[in-house]
């Protein structure tokens, strides 16, 4: 089993680099949003965003052991959920900017949280797409003399 995991890691090194970045970014989203998420428009932290980012990172970590593509896709879907939850949380702020009524503009904190969460999700997605599913490779059959 362990050999299989190692083999999976070796043969999918690039995929896991992407997943690793995705995990790091998901964790950054968790901590950065926790630190900067309270604004004039958002008086409370939305725990859903942190929970789904953390789940996304957790599934990403699990994918190192469970070498199924679907696991990384699941990390992507959780990341997508966290990202969309962030958009929902900030929708009045975003609408306020696009209506241009108050002269409010995007803050660095918003831009970074938005960028990190979308990047984390995309890294998981790319990691999943480029993974070779070695668990389903047939064992080579020894030739009989």
């Amino acid at each position: 089993m362990f050999a299989l995991i190692l083999k999976n890691l070796k043969e999918n090194i690039l995929s896991y680099v992407f997943v690793g970045i995705g995990i790091a970014l998901s964790l950054v989203v968790c901590f950065y949003y926790q630190a900067t998420g309270v604004t004039a428009f958002t008086p409370k932290i939305n725990p859903i965003i942190i929970i789904f980012s953390a789940i996304s990172a957790g599934i990403g970590i699990i994918s190192f052991c469970a070498g199924f593509k679907i696991v990384k896709y699941l990390a992507f879907v959780m990341g997508l959920f966290a990202f969309l939850s962030y958009v929902r949380e900030e929708i009045t702020y975003i609408a306020n900017i696009f209506t241009g009524i108050d002269g409010t503009s995007f803050t660095l904190e918003f831009i970074l949280t938005f960028a990190f969460s979308i990047a984390a999700m995309l890294f998981f997605l790319v990691g999943a797409i480029i993974q070779k599913e070695i668990l389903f490779q047939k064992k080579p059959v020894a030739k009989e003399n």
Partner: protein
């Protein structure tokens, strides 16, 4: 390979469907969060009326006059055009340069000629596509096509005003660009018409620094505008042009110093404001003489826009800004920009002409400490000024005292050469006594107290005009000693005048003071003597006699606020102009008490004796049965209302109060239909006719009460045609300084003129079953920093200047407006909607307001300072934002709050039942049932569809994985 074993297939399908499920869940959530906005934007009905037995009642409680769309369009077009005809103001007309002769060949200058301001941005924005341009509208003349093309598509087309980087800029074309088109001028030389345009909009005041106009101030001339006007002056001197005409296409007063410069020679000038959808045709009507101008300025036009105390304070502040951060804001890192900025209204009552005319009077009377003041150097055209193509003669001015009022009559005769209308203005001077000096009561040397407009009079015709002044208008608010309204002992002077300055000169002349005004007429002055000082008569509410009027706003006057610490400010006083005119910014710092008061989410009373109300009872009552009629009156405090309110569930109450974005929601338990309410003051958003009206300053400048009532009816007809039964307007905030970004939504610098405009519009609109939401209550006179900015002002200004238009609008004996929209700002440390002094003690107890109060747009601020708990606990009834049935669950067990919620619902239900055309078509036998809108059906479908698909594909993926593993093994 069998598809069932295809891991790739099921995995792909699962990932795609799970992704769409996430989008459907979150996107659908956003849609539900914003359901009120969606329903409003797509004009969706959330309920259906199930007809019961025919009760035989006429359920068309409010009748529409214009059901034919074409007739409605004709009506709105004609009202808009008439508003502009009567509201544009002829500032100057040297040598009778206007009117122009029919068929004159004219050249239109300035980028404004091809990009006129019809409307503005924000809540008053309307669809301006398809509105005629100036060239088309000037059908009485031949317009220089070469110059027109220069601005439209030639070298001048690259120059357009805008707001790059949130700074208002003009970007006018320099004279050097005109080289190729100059040869066309001589063929179209009957007149050069220069259009001077300035924009305005919601959310930002007009730039006072960094604009590309002179001195960085947007309302000053751009250097290329000056260059073109000088060049036109030279071309007139050389004979290329016979006349230079100026059209000021700006809702706010442009600084007019240039009109008095020696190197700029303008023959005639017209202030036209923003034009609305058909106002542009009125320019042709007036330029050609088909209509004689009769508008009178609703604001003072200045040679120095920073000359008033309010504007001077603005100019003294860092970055010439209206608001400042508290000096120690850095010590409060937890405070955001809705909590740490403030502004001081240093002017007291001396807003607009009240300052210029009073200081002028004090100079003329030789009052002590008046300082250096040159009226002519400051004022270009006084409040109330406006010329005509004809002349009017006033005679037989008489005053009659009658119970609680004075009646004035005057004969107005047209003695000029063409027919026209005249706006008759009556001003009052109250005595400025030793008591006032001692106790800091301020008195304007002159103030408008009545006006009427004549019918169109032919040459030689006259009309007797009657003007009515309530004795109540003699009152002044003494915030320091009597702490109520007083009437000073002494002589009160009433004077007619062609403007505020002329009326004052008439009074001064009657007092024996020589003013040098050629046009003074002491026969247009009447006096009333008040024998004794009176602090009783107006110390009780005029509508609730048991309610005492006393200081309510000590907390908004930093000199009286108990937590002021070492803060203090100086308000302008005519007792010492020299010492009190602003000379530096008023710097304030946050004190410990202010810190506490600024914070939101204030604790609710616990165990205050309130009894938890009942919910969800079934008394079988329907809202329409509570519509009061002469035969069956149902008062607001009729006990039967409690049975109806008992039928509502807590969730229904929470939704009704919190989900008020452009609607009040349906309430199934009491058969209340949803109402649709829309922006805005200058035209109905989503109107089928696309009708928009000129800026409100133009309305006020008509001085025509009947016309203003007609505008109210017109807006109502336009609203009803698209199912709207409430309009967020009129706006009655103050033109406190020329730079207010939203001045196009407000009428005037004068509270009385504004009050009457609002009353007339409200009467017209509500007669059709459309509720007026008079806004923004209160002290929202500026836009930049409006979110949570603390306004500090004294109570005399608050009551006499800021609140007067609201008072007149709401009092049952005046406008009787049934709704108000509150403001984003604070008064003192408190958000306006969270001030029980404003929302309950004054609005309801003193003024007898019977309606409900909605917040300004709450979606972005409802979680910060515009909180549900603070607003509802202090008399706010409705939130202009996206709410839900669960929004108030945190307060479910607080009896005090539950009763406040119930009261808010009661207000909304009472007004809807009695005054809203939304009840049309509903009888006591009918039921309101919910309707699932198309977007709700779509969200449900997508969620269920992708949920099922995700589950199924995940299961099939599991099967495929199992089969593949088995195969491999």
């Amino acid at each position: 390979m069998s598809p069932i074993k295809s891991v790739k297939l099921w995995r792909t399908l699962f990932v795609v469907s799970a992704s769409f499920l996430a989008v459907a869940l979150i996107g659908g959530g956003i849609a539900y969060d914003q359901s009120a906005a969606l329903n409003s934007a797509f004009n969706l009905k959330t309920y259906e009326v199930i007809k019961g037995d025919d009760t035989g009642e006429d359920t068309e409680y409010f009748k529409r006059q214009y059901t034919d769309p074409e007739k409605l369009k004709e009506y709105t077009d004609s009202v808009c055009r008439q508003l502009e005809q009567e509201g544009m103001v002829l500032l100057k007309n040297e040598n009778a340069a206007l009117p122009l002769a029919e068929g004159n060949k004219v050249s239109l200058f300035g980028q404004g000629s091809v990009s006129l301001n019809y409307g503005a941005t924000g809540s008053s924005s309307t669809d301006t596509s398809g509105i005629a341009n100036l060239k088309t509208a000037l059908s009485s003349f031949e317009v220089n096509p070469t110059l027109w093309d220069f601005y439209q598509s030639g070298a001048g087309a690259g120059y357009r005003r805008g707001k790059p980087g949130l700074i208002y800029k003009m970007n006018e074309a320099p004279w050097s660009e005109y080289g190729s088109v100059m040869s066309s001028f001589s063929d179209y030389g009957d007149a050069a018409i220069y259009v001077l345009s300035r924009d305005s909009g919601e959310g930002m005041d007009l730039s006072t620094v960094n604009s590309d106009c002179e001195g960085g101030v947007y309302l000053n001339l751009h250097h290329n505008e000056r260059e073109v006007l000088k060049s036109l002056t030279a071309l007139k001197a050389s004979g290329t042009f016979k006349k230079v005409i100026l059209l000021i296409n700006s809702p706010v007063p442009v600084q007019l110093d240039f009109m008095f410069d020696a190197d700029i020679n303008i023959d005639s000038a017209l202030w036209i404001g923003n034009l609305g959808s058909t106002g542009v045709y009125a320019i042709d009507d007036v330029l050609s003489g088909k209509v004689s101008p009769s508008g009178k300025l609703s604001d003072t036009f200045l040679k120095d826009n920073f000359a008033s105390p309010a504007a001077a304070t603005w100019g003294l502040n860092a970055n010439k800004s209206f608001a400042l951060p508290y000096s120690n804001a850095g010590d409060y890192p937890g405070f955001n920009n809705t909590q740490n900025t403030y502004a001081v209204y240093t002017e007291g009552i001396y807003v607009g002409y009240r300052y210029f005319e009073t200081r002028y009077a004090d100079v003329m009377m030789g009052s002590p400490r008046v300082g250096t003041f040159d009226y002519d150097a400051k004022v270009a055209y006084p409040f109330g000024h406006g010329l005509s193509y004809t002349d009017f003669y006033y005679s037989g001015f008489a005053m009659e005292e009658k119970d609680d009022l004075f009646l004035f009559t005057v004969d107005v005769m047209n003695i000029g050469g063409v027919k026209g209308k005249e706006a008759v203005q009556l001003y009052l001077q109250k005595p400025y006594t030793a008591y006032d000096r001692e106790h800091g009561v301020e008195k304007s040397a002159v103030e408008l107290v009545a006006f009427e407009k004549t019918a169109e009079l032919d040459t030689g015709d006259y009309q007797t005009i009657t003007l009515r002044v309530e004795k109540e208008q003699l009152r002044s608010y003494d915030a320091n000693y009597a702490k109520t309204y007083i009437v000073d002992e002494g002589d009160y002077y009433f004077a007619l005048g062609t403007n505020a300055h002329n009326a004052l000169n008439n009074i001064l002349d009657a007092q024996g003071i020589v003013t040098g005004d050629f046009y003074v007429d002491p026969t247009l002055v009447a006096t009333y003597h008040q024998a004794s000082f009176d602090k009783e008569t107006y110390s009780h509410s005029p509508v609730n006699k048991d309610k005492t009027i006393t200081n309510r706003f000590d907390f908004s006057d930093i000199n009286k606020y108990e937590g002021r610490g070492s803060n203090s400010v100086t308000y302008a006083s005519r007792n010492d102009w020299e010492g009190t005119f602003p000379k530096a910014s008023e710097i304030l710092s946050i004190t410990a008490m202010m810190e506490k008061d600024i914070l939101s989410y204030k604790a609710l009373p616990e165990n205050d004796g309130s009894v938890m109300p009942s919910y969800g009872r079934d008394h079988g009552l329907s809202l329409i049965a509570f519509r009061s009629t002469e035969q069956k009156p149902v008062a607001y405090d009729d006990p039967k209302w409690q049975d109806l309110l008992d039928q509502m569930t807590f969730a229904e109450q929470a939704l009704l109060i919190t989900d008020g974005q452009h609607n009040t929601s349906r309430v199934l338990s009491v058969n209340k239909p949803a109402t649709k309410d829309e922006n805005g003051p200058n035209g109905v958003s989503g109107s089928s006719t696309k009708a928009s009206f000129p800026s409100e300053g133009v309305w006020a400048a008509t001085f025509n009460k009947d016309l203003l009532e007609e505008v109210g009816k017109c807006l109502a007809e336009d609203a009803l045609a698209v199912g709207i039964t409430g309009i967020y307007g009129p706006g009655v905030n103050l033109h406190r300084a020329p730079f207010g970004g939203r001045a196009h939504e407000y009428f005037s610098e004068d509270p009385y003129l504004m009050a009457i405009c609002s009353v007339q519009e409200t009467i017209g609109m509500q007669s059709k079953g459309v509720i007026t939401y008079v806004k923004h209550f209160a002290v929202n006179d500026e836009e930049t920093n409006r979110n949570g900015v603390a306004i500090w002002l004294n109570e005399q200004e608050m009551r006499e200047i800021v609140l007067l238009p609201f008072e007149y609008s709401f009092r049952p004996d005046m406008g009787n407006a049934h709704a108000t929209m509150t403001s984003f700002n604070r008064i003192g440390c408190l958000w306006t909607s969270a001030s029980s002094a404003l929302m309950e003690a004054v609005l309801r107890d003193e003024w007898g307001f019977d309606g409900f109060a909605i917040t300004d747009m709450a979606s972005s601020n409802a979680k910060t300072f515009m909180t549900f708990v603070d607003g509802i606990a202090n008399g706010t009834s409705l939130y202009d934002g996206a709410g839900s049935e669960k929004a108030l669950d945190d307060y479910r067990n607080n009896a005090f709050f539950a009763n406040k919620m119930r009261e808010a619902c009661h207000r909304i239900l009472y007004i809807t039942a009695n005054y809203s055309a939304a009840m049309n078509g509903i009888s006591a036998a009918d039921r309101i049932v919910p309707v699932i809108t198309w977007w709700e059906a779509t969200v449900i479908g997508l969620r269920v569809g992708f949920g099922v698909l995700s589950g199924a594909t995940l299961a099939l993926l599991g099967v495929a994985l199992f089969l593949r593993r088995k195969e491999i093994a």
